[in-house]
Each structure stands twice: as structure tokens, then as C-alpha cells.
């Protein structure tokens, strides 16, 4: 007895995806990429469950694993920091080679053991699923496995309480009142009023153009800290001066010439203006 050709094709296509996802989980440097690879593998496994007649488990796999567990993983990754890449330095020398050797040995042993078991015939779930997969599982859970079911309920409650106890932080000192925080701010000497807006007394009011101080120098405070750290502050305060200088040079040329060429100077002005914009 064998499975259908469709299932075989589906298996060979999706098994490759599952193995690639698993390898990605192990080899990706960033935790987010690992989590996404693992989610892909879990979805493929859900399809395998559905294909094998475990309809309830297939849906539960998607809902619980890819839905809840992986979201919890991504949540913790966000909490811990997405950008924190894993260091690739080996702590124990030769550990990686030893791991690969051990892994290959273990895998070969496992697969050889399975191949040695001669599992050529299989029963299939046709008879067991005749009354419905969910009904069959329910009948088993609430009769034969009811004690284990109760115990898992206790385990889940314990886990929930354990997570709350572990992540709870007791406040060891009184929370600062608003007045105390205001006094603290005044004492520490930081800028109390809101920061000045960009473009104040400048020739543009774009956010990346610093405002000018009364002496004509640009003020870095007026530009967003993100733009400042990226080096995207556009400083136009120097440009008017160069334009004035260009105009003065043009005036010298104009005075030196016998006959004024009105058209050329206006064109030069226009081009320099265009460059300034």
C-alpha cells in the first residue's frame, strides 16, 4: 500500500522547503530571520499533518505554533533588540566541527535505524477517522487520556503564573511626582522649553535646514537628532555668501568690459541661482 502520487509530489516539494527553513533557522545570523525561517518550516509541517489525516493537529499547528508561539518569539526578539546579531566567534575551539560530525553521525544512526525497521506496510487513518478526526481525538482525550489532560491544564496555569513571576519587577522606590521630575529637569540644566523649529530665520523652512542664529551661524539644535546623526543636515547659510561673491566677480568683469553683454550676465545669474536651489 502506498500513498497517492499527489501526496508524494507534495512531500518532495515541501520537504525541501522544510529542510531549507530548518537550515536557515540554524545558520541565519539575526534572530528575526531565524524566526521567519522557523515559521516557514512550521507551516510546511502543518500541511504535512493535514495531508496525513491529522486535520485537528494541522489547524492547531498553524494557530498555536505559527500564530502564538512564533509571535511570542518575535515579541521577545523585539524586546531584546533586533539589531543584536549573534557573534560568530567560537567559545570552545573546534566546537563547530565537532557539532557537525556529531550531527551527521546522529542523523545517520537515526535514519539507518528507521530504514532497518522495514516499515513497508501501513494501516492508514481511514478507519480511525471514519467518525471524524476531531470526534475521535475528543473521545480519546476525555476517556483514556483524561488524567493527562487535567495535568496539562495544571501545567499551563503553572506556566502562566511562572511567566508572570519571572517578568514582574517590584518597585523598590517611590515613583517620582511631576513636580519632582520638573525640578530635576531644571537642576540638570537641559533645554527646558521645546527645541527651536528648523528653518527659523533661514531661507527655507524644510526640516533638514538648520535655523540661523542672530550672528548668521546655523544652529544644530533646530534639526532632528536622527537627521543630525545621519549627516543629512542641509546647510544653506554659506550659499548666499558664495552667490554674493559670484555677483561681485561678475561685476568686475562687467566693469572691465567696454561693451556690456547684458544677455550673458543674466544667463550666468540664472544658472547660479539654479545651482543654489
Amino acid at each position: 500500500m502506498t500513498t497517492s502520487t499527489g501526496e508524494a509530489v507534495q512531500f518532495w516539494v515541501l520537504a525541501i522547503v522544510a529542510v531549507l527553513g530548518a537550515l536557515g533557522t540554524v545558520t541565519m545570523r539575526k534572530a528575526v530571520h531565524s524566526a521567519l525561517c522557523l515559521a516557514g518550516t512550521m507551516i510546511v509541517l502543518a500541511v504535512f499533518y493535514l495531508a496525513q489525516g491529522a486535520y485537528f493537529l494541522g489547524i492547531v499547528q498553524i494557530v498555536v505554533y505559527t500564530g502564538a508561539v512564533m509571535m511570542l518569539f518575535l515579541f521577545v526578539v523585539m524586546l531584546v533588540g533586533i539589531t543584536a546579531a549573534d557573534s560568530l566567534k567560537e567559545t570552545i575551539r573546534g566546537q563547530r566541527v565537532a557539532t557537525v560530525v556529531t550531527g551527521v553521525g546522529f542523523g545517520v544512526l537515526l535514519i539507518a535505524g528507521l530504514a532497518n525497521a522495514h516499515l513497508s506496510a501501513f494501516t492508514g487513518l481511514g478507519a480511525a477517522n471514519s467518525g471524524g478526526n476531531v470526534e475521535g481525538l475528543a473521545a480519546l482525550i476525555f476517556t483514556k487520556y483524561v488524567w493527562a489532560f487535567e495535568i496539562t491544564g495544571a501545567l499551563l496555569i503553572t506556566a502562566a503564573i511562572g511567566a508572570m513571576v519571572l517578568t514582574h519587577r517590584e518597585r523598590t522606590e517611590r515613583a517620582a511626582t511631576q513636580r519632582e521630575m520638573a525640578e530635576q529637569r531644571v537642576r540638570s540644566g537641559v533645554q527646558l522649553p521645546p527645541l527651536p523649529a528648523p528653518g527659523v530665520y533661514a531661507r527655507h523652512n524644510a526640516v533638514d535646514i538648520p535655523g540661523l542664529l542672530p550672528d548668521g551661524t546655523p544652529s544644530e539644535l533646530t534639526v532632528n537628532a536622527t537627521l543630525r546623526s545621519r549627516g543629512q543636515v542641509r546647510d544653506l547659510s554659506g550659499e548666499p555668501l558664495t552667490r554674493v561673491r559670484e555677483l561681485e566677480d561678475g561685476a568686475d568683469d562687467y566693469l572691465d568690459q567696454d561693451r556690456p553683454v547684458r544677455r550673458d550676465t543674466s544667463a550666468a545669474n540664472g544658472s547660479s541661482e539654479g545651482a543654489a536651489q
Binding site: 502506498t2 500513498t3 501526496e7 508524494a8 512531500f11 520537504a15 529542510v19 530548518a22 537550515l23 533557522t25 534572530a31 531565524s34 524566526a35 522557523l38 518550516t41 512550521m42 509541517l45 504535512f48 496525513q52 485537528f56 493537529l57 492547531v60 499547528q61 505554533y65 502564538a68 508561539v69 518569539f73 521577545v76 526578539v77 531584546v80 549573534d86 557573534s87 567559545t91 566546537q95 557539532t99 556529531t102 550531527g103 551527521v104 542523523g107 537515526l110 535514519i111 528507521l114 525497521a117 516499515l119 501501513f122 494501516t123 492508514g124 487513518l125 480511525a128 477517522n129 481525538l137 480519546l140 496539562t152 501545567l155 499551563l156 506556566a159 502562566a160 511562572g162 511567566a163 517578568t167
Partner: protein
Amino acid sequence: MNPVYYLYLAALLFTIGAAGVLVRKNAIIVFMCVELMLNACNLAFVTFSRLHGNLDGQIIAFFTMVVAAAEVVVGLAIIVTFFRSRHSASVDDADLMKL
């Protein structure tokens, strides 16, 4: 195709997950590899359920999922607590009991 290929795939995924637990240092990724191993076991249980033609294997896989969910909750809480005190999620930094 014989369903035993599902068992081969499960063995392969379990091996990859175990190697990941040994190699990786980020505690979150180590945890993900543990989840991968649990999932591989689940696939084996479901396949055995089909091979034998009864639903007990699926029940065991279901209980594995419940236990895995509880394990993830507590494990991630431990990682978050550890990160708060050490500002790191690397398993190498948990060395207070090292001589």
C-alpha cells in the same frame, strides 16, 4: 511513496535542530532550535499514528504542543529576565557559577 519518508524528514529536522542547539549562542535562537526538535517529534508521532491506524499518536503530539507552549512561555520569560540583568541574550554570558 511510503509514509516512512515522513519519518526520515522528521529525523533530519531533529538532527538539524540538535546541531543548532549545540552551535548557536543567542539564547532565543537556541530556543527556536528546541522548538524545531519538538516539531520534528510531532511529525514522527503523526506519521506513526497513520502507520498504526489509531489516533493515540496524534493525542501525544497534541500534548507535546501544549507542553511546548508552556515551555516557550517560561523560557522566554527567563530570557527576558536574563536580558534585563545582563543586557545580553548570549548563553556565554550566563557564567556566574563558573569557577
